[in-house]
């Protein structure tokens, strides 16, 4: 609807960027240069951050930055040189500023899977080997409950304190914002192949027998159940367990009627491209990226509402380089750096001031409601309320049964 037109605009923008087109990349570089966003010479001199006053955290009285920082993030979640994918300018800038080598690893593919690998050392009171990890809000909440995160020293992260978007402040699991620093946020909605399905706008499409066997739901419980809650007219931020169970029953109908081909993670996007699937519960960023392959793919937040989620930088308990991790958090909350990441990643940016910085690079992107959502859109999407451990167990259990495991 309203977001369709600007969305189409970014598509073209994305095609240029994603396609690895040299022209697009050159334009991007040029924009960087004129905008004074970032240093053109990643060698030597302390770069980049002059425009924003709070940027220079003087690490004089504080401990010195460590020689290395072990950073686990999701794949394709940071700015990457189009000609040499091993290069991430943001990380190079960080190294240039603090002398710290960043061991950046795209090790997080799934919240639960990654949790499985860090659970044992944390349980045994040992260092996980990571200094900074990026996990989704509900998993961050679980880690807070378990006491498995280090608190940030807010004095070390002035940019973060100043620039965190209000919408991401003080979730009930972290009222003082000491544990979580949002990295990117995203929305969950309807993904579909317009050529086959026409325009879809309603959450009821997920129960439409027309898409039988050619529709996927997400393995992410909060996303999938969220749509059922919306369909039933319940609130995602304030539902009872009984309403949750009704939502599961609603989903079970679709499964029993064999409407659902599979419950998936990001893989649904590949199935949309291959044409095996025509309707999906989808994440905004995925669809934008896949439009390069199949331009008839569309993303729409159902008129009845959609899901908002965010991934957070967290410092696991016992991290060896906690202070350096804080430096990194503060570094990416510099609007200029945030814009540099955003120009490549295209999810929702949680950093105030990044919009203006991004506008210097690319007006289209800066005006995209999928990166800096309008107030209207924020009104349409909601987060999933936080839950107690008992509730989480009950929900996961019911959801596992639904997906056959």
């Amino acid at each position: 609807m309203a977001d369709q037109t600007p969305l189409d605009r970014i598509i073209t923008r994305r095609q240029v960027l994603i396609g690895g087109s040299l022209a697009g990349f050159a334009a991007f570089l040029a924009a960087c240069g004129t905008g004074g966003v970032a240093s053109q010479a990643p060698t030597g001199t302390p770069p980049t951050t002059e425009p924003t006053e709070a940027a220079s955290v003087a690490p004089t009285t504080k401990p010195t930055p460590a020689a290395e920082l072990n950073f686990a993030n999701w794949p394709l979640y940071i700015d990457t040189d189009d000609n040499d994918p091993t290069k991430h300018k943001t990380l190079e800038d960080f190294t240039a500023k603090y002398g710290t080598k960043v061991n950046y690893s795209e090790a997080v593919n799934d919240n639960d899977e990654f949790f499985g690998t860090i659970k044992a050392p944390l349980d045994a009171g040992q260092d996980t080997g990571w200094d900074l990890i990026v996990l989704t809000d509900w998993m961050a909440a679980r880690l807070v409950r378990l006491g498995w995160l280090e608190k940030m020293d807010l004095g070390d992260v002035p940019n973060y304190v100043k620039n965190l978007e209000d919408g991401f402040k003080a979730p009930d699991w972290d009222p003082t914002n000491e544990y979580h620093a949002p990295w990117q946020a995203g929305m969950t909605g309807l993904g579909f192949d317009k050529k086959v399905t026409g325009d879809l706008t309603s959450v009821n499409e997920f129960w439409n027998a027309k898409w039988k066997g050619r529709m996927t739901y997400l393995t992410e419980m909060r996303d999938t159940v969220g749509f059922a809650l919306i369909k039933l007219g319940f609130s995602r931020q304030d539902f009872t367990i009984d309403q949750f169970d009704q939502a599961i029953a609603e989903l079970q109908k679709a499964v029993d009627a064999k409407l659902v081909r599979a419950f998936t993670g990001n893989e649904y996007a590949e199935s949309l491209v291959s044409g095996d699937v025509v309707v999906s519960m989808a994440w905004s960023g995925d669809i934008i990226q896949k439009q390069a392959d199949k331009e008839t793919l569309r993303f729409h937040i159902p008129d009845e509402g959609g899901n908002l989620w965010y991934d957070n930088m967290l410092i696991p308990k016992g991290a060896k380089n906690k202070y350096t991790a804080e430096l990194m958090i503060d570094f990416v909350y510099d609007p200029a750096i945030a814009a540099q990441i955003e120009a490549w990643v295209n999810y929702i940016c949680p950093v105030k001031g990044a919009k203006d910085e991004l506008a210097k690079i690319d007006t289209d992107l800066a005006n995209s409601p999928l990166i800096f959502p309008t107030a209207d859109m924020y009104a349409k999407v909601t987060g999933f309320r936080s839950v107690t451990e008992e509730e989480e167990q009950h929900m996961n259990d019911a959801f596992s049964t639904l997906i056959g495991a």
Binding site: K119, R214, R261, S274, E389, Q393, S400, A405
Partner: protein, 347 residues
Amino acid sequence: MSGLGAPVGSVTARSVRRLPVPLLLLLPGVLWLAIFYVYPAFQMFLSSFWTGSLEKGFSFSLDNWTTYPEAIGRYQEQFARSILYAVAATILTFLVSYPLAWTIAFKAGRWKNLLIFLVIAPFFTSFLLRTVSWRIILGDDGIALGPLKDIGLLPPEFRVLATPIAVISGITYNFLPFMTLPIYVALEKIDFRLIEAARDLYAGPWRRPGAVIGAVVGGSLLAVLAWIFEMPIIALLVIGAVAGALIGATLISEAFVRVTLPLSMPGVFAGSLLVLIPAIGDYVNAALLGNPSTTMIGNVIQSRYLTNADYPTAAALSFIMMAGILIAVIVYARALGTEQLTAGRGL
């Protein structure tokens, strides 16, 4: 080491007997498995008697044995599916592998190393890549199905992906070398003179018994598959019987049945275990190629462990599965009469 080749009772053997040779041979492996398998697995077993949660901590109590019957009751469907899919895949790998291994072992001459290697080589390429590749090939409108749909041979809503057939085929494909290799190894070592001698002894044609045995074996195997795939059992039984009879009458000789087949049984035994056991616990094929109603017990263990942090149930399910497999293996060994294998005598 020095007693290695010594036949029991010879002078050499007697003098070396005092050295615990077999124990020395076993020692490194046993130690490795004891430290890195038995001990952790035992701890895991204990965790099946836990109660509690991640946040409140877990506590151990033998009263929690009820986790076991609960787990069986709740997941019997997935257990049943795992067994059916694994058995179907084992039969299919056997049907594909035996003639393959036989031909390479006896007919390929100098090329046999190369051919057997060609059978294994695809498996050096990551299974995930290959499975994604199959998804491209078998896509609903892909290279294979698209044209058939276009000319009307298949209805437009026909699909292979996200069906039980896709899961079983995936397991079959991914585990095929585990069947082929042991059978090949067993066949390849057969002393050719034995077969020649057998041919001299049973020189006559063997059409009638061959046809009968072929019909029985072919019919029953296909009937089992038909039952698992929910296809018409009678029809496939007939097809299997006819095909088996033809093969039995034309390709199978008495020498084969009396010499080659029994001598290759250790390979068949090893191969079917190597396929059946991991296939029962597999979850990747069901996850990538199946739909919500084709999940197997491996998927449940995976989700209990990773998503639900329900370690007691995950552990209980694992041990139920392992116990079931062990019992099946023992029964199977008895049925195939291969227990003399473990005693170390082949012929």
